[in-house]
Symmetry: C2
Subunit: 405 residues, 2 copies
């Protein structure tokens, strides 16, 4: 049997899980392509953005991470479907028998005026670094009079898990920064703006209410039914006419698949490629994770979260192996593992698929445990995991972050 050449584009949760499973099969030649030489642990980007974790802690080197898989650092600029090949920015052409597209998602402005120019997004290490620098630097600038005190106000748009998590973490950071800049105490503020009627809309009403209550305990002003009309460098204008002054605007209101693959097939509003029940497009192309539109049992696309990507990655690896061995394909079935969000450092909301709900510290420990062990566990990175937990747990002991230009 000849070797089957599998090219996986994207070294995220989905792509790497797929590669790891395929590496167990003989006769498969695996190439992983990504523009960065690391796996980004995106669910903790907000920790980097708020100074809780150093950036190395959420970026794991992917080279040599999976024995037997080749890694190429590069940007895919073209996919030639009939020729079954793709071309990188450096001009090199790579043939594939099976192509797994696992390119994740990017931030999207939904066309709201001023978002691209004035809001900070949080989809990459670089963006998280910029937010962190802005948050810290603003205190310096206000103290010496280069910026008005209003610049210490932060507006977060979008109350999904990312928006909720970053709001809580910014509120905690602000309290600590005010200890360092006592003259500025009382001027910091986080406002979380959500267009829908409640925070964490995908959770139950009760969990939403708890999350909002926890945020308010941390000093976050929560505004629901508040849609953003447009924004300017230092102001967010709501559709109601209210204007929120802000030194930092964080946009956490939506993600979309990268638009460059849209011509490969049917896409939805968020540029996701619609796949069949096996996660395939046809012609040996599979699409997984955030880039994929897979209709769930309720007809709606599966959420853009790591567990979906990982399950799809494992499933597609299984299908490629089955195909090779002349076995029939099996439809993908998503096993809901529940959902969770942290609010600050000791609170979280967790909803299990069996209807069980956790709040407070128990939920926070569950969140920590699942993030740290379940998601990172496959890489067996004892050191990173321990460093993380340690960083995370002792964060409260003393100031740790400062402006390093």
């Amino acid at each position: 049997m000849s070797t089957c050449k599998v090219v996986i584009v994207g070294a995220g949760f989905g792509g790497l899980r797929c590669a790891r499973e395929l590496a167990k099969t003989n006769g498969v030649d695996i190439t992983i392509i990504d523009r960065n030489p690391y796996q980004l642990f995106a669910p903790l980007l907000y920790q980097v953005a708020t100074g809780g974790l150093p950036e190395d802690d959420i970026a794991y080197p992917v080279r040599a991470a999976i024995p037997g898989a080749r890694f190429i650092r590069g940007d895919v600029v073209r996919i030639d479907r009939p020729a079954k090949s793709l071309r990188l920015q450096d001009g090199s052409v790579h043939h594939y028998d099976e192509l797994v597209l696992a390119t994740g998602s990017v931030g999207t402005t939904f066309g709201v005026t001023g978002v691209a120019e004035n809001a900070l997004q949080m989809k990459s290490i670089q963006e998280a670094r910029i937010i962190r620098h802005r948050l810290l630097q603003t205190y310096e600038e206000v103290e010496v009079g280069h910026l008005p005190k209003e610049a210490l106000r932060v507006v977060v748009v979008g109350a999904g898990p990312t928006g909720v998590e970053v709001s809580g973490a910014v509120a905690e950071l602000q309290r600590r920064m005010e200890d360092e800049f006592p003259d500025l105490a009382g001027n910091s503020r986080v406002t979380l703006v959500e267009a829908g009627p409640r925070v964490l809309p995908m959770f139950t009403d009760k969990s939403s209410a708890r999350a909002q209550q926890n945020l308010e305990q941390l000093g976050v002003r929560v505004m629901v039914n508040a849609a953003v009309d447009r924004m300017y460098p230092t102001d967010v204008h709501l559709k109601s006419g209210e204007v929120l002054p802000a030194g930092t605007i964080i946009w956490a209101a939506g993600v979309a698949a990268p638009s460059e693959w849209a011509d490969l097939g049917d896409t939805d509003r968020a540029h996701r490629l619609k796949v069949d029940e096996y996660c395939q497009l046809g012609d040996g192309i599979w699409v997984i994770g955030d880039t994929s539109h897979f209709a769930g049992s309720d007809g709606r696309p599966l959420p853009q979260i790591a567990p979906v990507a990982m399950q799809m990655g494992r499933h597609v690896a299984g299908q490629i192996t089955a195909q090779r061995n002349g076995r029939a394909l099996t439809p993908f079935v998503y096993k809901d593992k529940g959902q969770m969000a942290t609010i600050g450092r000791r609170r979280a909301v967790v909803e299990m698929p069996n209807g069980m709900k956790l709040h407070g510290t128990a939920a926070w420990l569950t969140w920590l445990g699942l993030h740290v062990f379940y998601l990172a566990g496959g890489r067996n990175r004892v050191s990173v995991v321990a460093d993380w937990m340690w960083n995370y747990i002792v964060w409260g002991v003393g100031p740790r972050r400062t402006v390093i230009d």
Copy 2:
């Protein structure tokens, strides 16, 4: 009794120790001025340069670090001795009754041709970050053919503690990078170049020999009696005529005091200001730490190391308090605490003032203990200290560093 206004320039080991002691005295108004809002833990810069520690771990916020002391972020551009005032870059003028200069040291090229243009120094976070990026990025560049394999060679100039420590850490980093880039295995190399007859010249012969042996076990090529004549972007030329190709050249051959204070008094070759037995210049100016030339019992200036700066800082605080209370001044006496250097992660050489010597793991643990608890302990930064130890101890478990542009 009127308030005594003390201005301390430099938030390093010396300046902060001085401020902390002065804060115990009533009637003293303390201002600390530094161009950075953090204390740099310089003895561990080489760890940041080689990917062992994140930069936040060696930069502690200084604002609010000492209750009762004011912090101003700024650059001192002029000292007006008769008027007892200094001027910052932003134009503000600050009066003092007592001025403590604790401005540390900077790298010096000793006028060797090509050093300033081609060698990387390691005196700031920014410089350490550049070295780290260069070391990691070179593997990427060589792999895709943008740089020749020779670029993986590193030359370190100067075999004092800094040169020895960085050589060992780079050698360990290279071994790990070759695991990630197996195609490049066998091409990395560190060469440590020392003009004198042995490494760690301030240690005993026996400790020097041990250190050299340990370095060689890590794969470092050690060249003694090898003076650098000049350097070019990819070559170091020795006086012997030998040429060492290098992708990265790290200059650890010498430090000097910042030259801008030279007109305040007599200076030595390294721009250090010669002080009297109380560490003073006169006119209410005190000079401590690396900026100070204090003749030790053997007539030679005290070494430019943290324990000297800290002891001087405490001493000067005591003198300012004594003066204020009408008591006589006491000459400064340096208590030698010994010296140490690490070589890689499990080896070190330690020499105690009582003649006791330690090598190997015992020495390494001593080094770790003293650095972590003695030097950082005064700040009571449990979290940072623990994070450090953890990072440091588990470093061997898995790859942790990658290029994040």
